[in-house]
Symmetry: C2
Subunit: 349 residues, 2 copies
């Protein structure tokens, strides 16, 4: 895991190689931190103006806004870091609403004593992820709390996007007969982060699936008739999305366990840990409820995109009224999939 | 201080009177927390839809966005709480940009073990503050971190507003001769929060000035010619704003110490603590740089509003090139006001 440890060489910062309380106090050290660490990575005219807020160009059509905090531990893991996750996570929340992401704000809560080099690396990851998504970081805030009052770094990103014309995805449009499609293998993120903690004694050949979904959606679902509802299965995994739909639309769902794509390392780790992959978080997958007529063409479309190579139809909406999720085992037995209630995987995102 | 302690009676929440890790895991307990604690206080069609993001009505003109985290300790203090502060703080960042606030998002990072009653009280304060400002809480997120990984609650709010037509406030418009106006006594918030910690042995008759500034600004500065730049003096106090202006506009400022409004309890506390009130945070005051011709009418206008009763002109821009802040004492001596560098008041907001 050594390639995922923070860099050893401290970046000097006015004599301080660790974040001090004074870096959060609105004075000289904060201005220098912004100038030396944040602005070089995140250069944008709005940020450079350093006003209390950013004036944006007019947003045509329907603006969409989403916010998420990120408290993942460890900060760096195979396939990403809290920096990239904080961008992709919020971009994905906009994307599954049918929006194109445009702007992002970033609020940092930093624990006193964090090495400046670690902060710099997170800023760079965040900046790279924002460039990948073509979203501008337009405004930011940094607070420093005393040692022990937070664990290293927490990030909160808020994204602003524009609803793609013609999109009307809504959980209330889910109806009996709809097919349930996932865009790829599930649970990679959750298991990769767990393994990166090093406390499980697991050495896995596995990276998080953390990735932005707006291009995949723009190239596929955004132009497909028959899409009723889209969601990214993060905390609580696919099971949480399924239960959200059963409750909101009052429908019963049936999942074919054998059809659910799961990578071997995830399956093995879940067996060892006593977890069901359906409960494990993804950070670069989507679940779509689509009409039966459109399902196979949508799966093929998804499979034609690099982020959807292993897309699959995994089940369907079987009835109305009884809000339950059933899973059919490879041998044909039907069991009820409980809603996630406990906390098997805290601080996964 | 007993009236500012959390309520003693726990609000039952499915058997749990404290926040569990499971409340942050995307499953049943999280849905019930949203249903039982957040939605009753913050009811809004967008929130009720519980999508990953909120679709907003089109924003006419120039959208303005601002984000801030709030880590204040203690959570409750005379004159406010982290809940009201998180709304007013972000509303004020929009207001001093010249924007009318419209929408707000709220991200909660909650420490495992927080009494649900404390969370509920913060939610209610936040909801009341949002109603006061006529801003809608349109989307939210909640993460729970294990006991010890955060200190009780951190909030991050992001505000979206609309720039008032005709406003062009910019630090680059500050010029020699400009008068520096404050809207009221400074330092109330910082000293009230310090006193509420109970560790200073100070018993003061003082409440935070925490308040929203958009109505004051809408009724006064927004319609006044000669306003060049407006800022709210939070972390680092008025001194931080002055230094921000000197650096950005490359001007020298001179403050008349005797003209700066300071309440007696703030002055006494500052003397005991060895603090200069110019460095102490406000949360409901503004500093404006205005043309000399307009200064006295602007001060009178501010004084005609309940939030500006003790507005005063406290100094002026005296020269260009040498970026320094000078303070003239009541006896006429001139001293240099250093930029805040240390951290006299951590977790003040």
């Amino acid at each position: 895991m050594s390639q995922f440890s923070p860099p050893a060489c401290p970046v000097p910062h006015e004599g301080a190689d660790r974040i001090l309380l004074a870096h959060g106090e609105g004075g000289r050290l904060m201005r220098r931190l912004i100038r030396d660490v944040f602005l070089p990575a995140l250069d944008h005219p709005q940020l450079r103006a350093r006003a209390d807020g950013a004036c944006l160009p007019p947003v045509e059509g329907t603006p969409v806004v989403s916010t998420d905090s990120f408290v993942v531990s460890p900060l760096f893991f195979p396939g990403g870091s809290i920096g990239s996750l904080a961008v992709y996570g919020t971009v994905n929340d906009l994307a599954v609403c049918g929006a194109e992401p445009l702007y992002i704000s970033v609020a940092w809560i930093v624990e006193e004593g964090l090495p400046v080099a670690v902060l710099s690396r997170i800023v760079e990851d965040l900046a790279r992820a924002a460039r990948t998504c073509a979203v501008s970081v337009v405004t930011a805030d940094t607070k420093v709390v005393p040692n022990g009052a937070a664990d290293q770094v927490f990030l909160t990103t808020t994204g602003i996007g524009r609803l793609r014309p013609g999109i009307q995805w809504d959980v209330q449009r889910v109806c009996v007969g709809d097919r349930i499609v996932v865009s790829g293998p599930i649970g990679d993120h959750g298991i990769a982060v767990l393994a990166a903690r090093g406390t499980l004694g697991l050495e896995l050949d596995l990276a998080s699936d953390s990735a932005p979904l707006h291009e995949l959606i723009g190239a596929t679902l955004a132009h497909s008739p028959g899409v009723h509802f889209v969601r990214d299965p993060t905390r609580g995994g696919v099971a949480a999305v399924l239960h959200e739909v059963t409750e909101a639309a009052q429908v019963t769902l049936e999942i074919e366990e054998a059809a659910v794509p799961v990578r071997d390392p995830v399956r093995s780790a879940c067996e060892i840990l006593g977890l069901d992959p359906l409960y494990v978080a993804c950070e670069g997958r989507l679940v779509a409820f689509v009409s039966p007529e459109s399902a196979s063409s949508i799966v093929r479309l998804l499979q034609s995109h690099p982020l959807g190579l292993r897309a699959a139809s995994i089940g369907q909406v079987t009835g109305r009224g009884l809000a339950e999720v059933h899973v059919r085992s490879p041998l044909g037995a039907l069991r009820v999939l409980d809603e996630p209630a406990g906390a098997p995987l805290p601080r996964i995102c």
